[in-house]
Symmetry: C2
Subunit: 129 residues, 2 copies
């Protein structure tokens, strides 16, 4: 089965996060994208998202690892919803799996860009309830 | 806190499902919306979605109840991602809670319409894994 273009973008983003290549990473987001930094705290727009990722890298001692273990894409028009089991680890944190939810938008060039990045999934409901 | 317009649409949809008012229900979907009928089986477009909801109503002995217990909306531009704990019950089924994911699109009139309806959330990954 051919891999969805959105999945390729996510793999590219994961590699960029691990490499701390924030220029490549920012190319994958829409201009007004929303990143859930932690439940209850969002970064909006590329500048804020870049800053958040830089802080996350430091927080995880520049050793953050990210990969997707199971992923599904639902597409409608120019929008795609991604459900993923996102596995995260770092030197100072045991491996955890988050039930992540991402929304991608297909721009006029046919490139899929992330507009909503919520790796916490339902953990954001009611203050992590 | 004022309720997000998307939440109002979901409440309207839930009332329409319970009342089996499929005309009102279809008004809430985009033309090319995707509904996950069950993991691995999607209905695409209003005609297919209407047919699926009619079959669902019969399957649940015309006694399906739907409500949201905790809901969060992430908005970016004309797109909104909804994370919800969706509670479903019926005369022939004990109450279950699904970690639902919905995507809404804001049309030119400012009306939020559902483009992706996945009440199963991460259950769609890898054949219900």
């Amino acid at each position: 089965m051919q891999q969805h273009a959105v999945v390729k973008q996510i793999e590219k983003a994961d590699r960029a996060i691990v490499a701390e290549d924030f220029d490549t990473l920012m190319d994958i987001y829409t201009r007004d994208a929303v990143l859930v930094v932690e439940p209850g705290r969002n970064a909006v727009g590329k500048d804020a998202i870049r800053k958040a990722f830089k802080a996350i890298a430091v927080y995880f001692k520049n050793g953050l690892q990210v990969r997707q273990k199971g992923i599904e894409v639902l597409e409608s028009g120019n929008t795609a919803l991604v459900l993923a089991n996102t596995v995260i680890s770092a030197p100072n944190m045991p491996e955890i799996t988050r039930k992540a939810t991402y929304v991608f938008y297909k721009d006029a060039n046919g490139t899929w860009l992330c507009s909503i990045d919520n790796s916490y999934g339902h953990e954001i409901i009611g203050g992590n309830a």
